[in-house]
């Protein structure tokens, strides 16, 4: 596989989409559909979480089945911060990223010594351990989870209004997309992608491949932690279900549908999956059947994911 190169129209298109996103709460309010602002925020948050997994999975080639653990850890840190009297997101969100990152550092430092199916199993095992830890933690609500007492403030501005939280989530997603977009094209991203292609060769070129993988794993965990903190604010609850392996599976499905190793894969996947759920749930509670068919169709007809259908430029970047 070549290095990831965004198609030339990707930047203008993302700017158009960004403008549409900025206008969305106003439009929804004008047509009396405020309810959907919360839904749109959910899409943004899961887009952020799936994008963070895509860094690990798509660019780093690490199939982690425990990514939801970092999402859940972030949610719990936000709730625990509030319980401790810290209601300011400028403190709680970085704390969530820090704790999730530290957790990812421990998980990564151990699991990245294994490969293939063993890596999948060990990341799953860590996530399940974290899940049962929170389920049994009475002071944090056990399996009921830890509720938030209203939403936090961001540099003094309350996130209680739906559009405030929407813009906070949008800001986080945009920042992550810019960072990952730059990173993919910088030395770090190229090294990471080359390690994904041929680890031994990179080692023989003098690269400490373990360190590159670990940094990407930790970075992915941190961004997932941020998504978790935002999600706790949206739903008003840090639930152990967020750490469940099914949640990790959902994130994986989002990335696979959207496009593994494509910058916008996580965003596309999260949007498609959640929109599908939202629409189909009105018709049948067995909407997972349709999801299964979609996944089948993507794997068979667009194995690189939906984002890949829009193509990517293969031009050389130096001539």
């Amino acid at each position: 596989m070549a290095y990831y190169r965004p198609a030339s129209w990707q930047k203008p298109l993302s700017l158009v989409l960004l403008a549409a996103a900025v206008a969305l709460p106003t439009v929804l309010t004008a047509i009396g559909q405020e309810f959907y602002i919360g839904f749109a925020t959910r899409v943004l948050i899961f887009a952020l979480a799936a994008t963070s997994l895509n860094l690990v999975l798509g660019f780093g080639g690490m199939v982690s089945l425990g990514h939801a653990a970092f999402l859940g850890a972030g949610a719990y840190v936000a709730a625990i911060c509030q319980q401790a009297g810290i209601n300011e997101a400028l403190i709680a969100f970085p704390a969530a990223m820090g704790v999730a990152g530290l957790f990812a550092l421990i998980v990564g430092a151990i699991s990245l010594r294994t490969r293939g199916v063993y890596f999948i199993m060990i990341t799953l095992a860590f996530a399940q351990m974290a899940y049962y830890l929170f389920v049994s933690a009475r002071s944090w609500g056990g399996d009921d989870g830890l509720p938030l007492n209203g939403r936090m403030t961001l540099s003094g501005i309350s996130l209680a209004a739906d559009d405030a939280l929407f813009y906070a989530a949008l800001g986080a997603l945009v920042a992550a997309m810019i960072l990952f977009g730059r990173l993919a094209d910088a030395r770090f991203g190229r090294t990471l992608q080359a390690v994904r292609e041929n680890e031994t060769r990179m080692e023989a070129l003098g690269y400490p491949v373990f360190r590159f993988r670990l940094v990407a794993f930790v970075l992915g965990g941190m961004v997932a932690g941020l998504a978790g903190a935002l999600l706790a604010n949206l739903t008003g609850l840090a639930s152990p279900n967020l750490l469940q392996w099914t949640q990790s599976g959902t994130l994986l499905v989002m990335v696979i549908i959207g496009g593994v190793g494509y910058l916008y894969g996580g965003v596309v996947g999260a949007a498609v999956l959640l929109l599908l759920e939202e629409t189909l749930v009105g018709f049948t509670e067995h909407w997972h059947i349709v999801l299964g068919l979609l996944l089948l169709a993507v794997v068979l007809f667009a194995p690189k994911g939906l984002a890949a259908l829009f193509g990517r430029s293969r031009r050389a970047d130096h001539d």
Partner: protein, 251 residues
Amino acid sequence: MTDVLLDVRQLTRRFGAVDALKAVDFSVSAGEVHALIGPNGAGKTTFIHHVSGALKPDSGSVHFAGRDVTALSMHRRVAAGMARSYQITNVFPGLSALDNVALAVQGRSDAGSSFRFWQPASKETAVFDEARGYLEQVGLHGKSPVAGGLLSHGEQRALELAMALATRPKLLLLDEPMAGTGPEESARMVELIEHLARHVTILLVEHDMAAVFRLADRISVLVNGQLICTGTPEEVRNDAGVRRAYLGDHL
């Protein structure tokens, strides 16, 4: 004798019941082309793996440029100045020839950290200019935009060499650079190695005897994990033990 660049002492490795390497003493002097030959299964590739750090010995030591590197991992040995090319062609098929070499340049410690998250790597003209230089050295200028996987076998071998060179090694480990190449490509490769040998010390593992006897300053012969002879091409050619090993003449 000149400085000893690589000094392997009493290197021993067992795989289960098989003694792959039996107390091998081996050295490469700075500036020479030292060829390692031996029948199939003699342990040549295993030996190279131990020198490069892909495998760790049961006992014995590897000294490189005056320092004990036995415990160092592969990437640290590369940073210390040891580069290898692979017996099986091992370039990045999806990346252009230039990107392949640029990765090798970028991996060098004096090229700066690769933990850079912001500046586009494609704008680093110094890295790409240097990479172009190595492509030129191995005769691949003009192929720089071609994907590694689309190059001919001989060109891929040359690209391997360019990547190894780009790490600016003190010692180049060449594991069967002639493997699978046709006579023409083979001749070009011999010329290329001859040219490189002026700048860098080479440890060459090769089956092509014509190439070995043309290139090597010294030849060592490995048979069943044991080094049975080291000497000039002339000495090796006339060594009775070597003749026995190669001709199967046990009498």
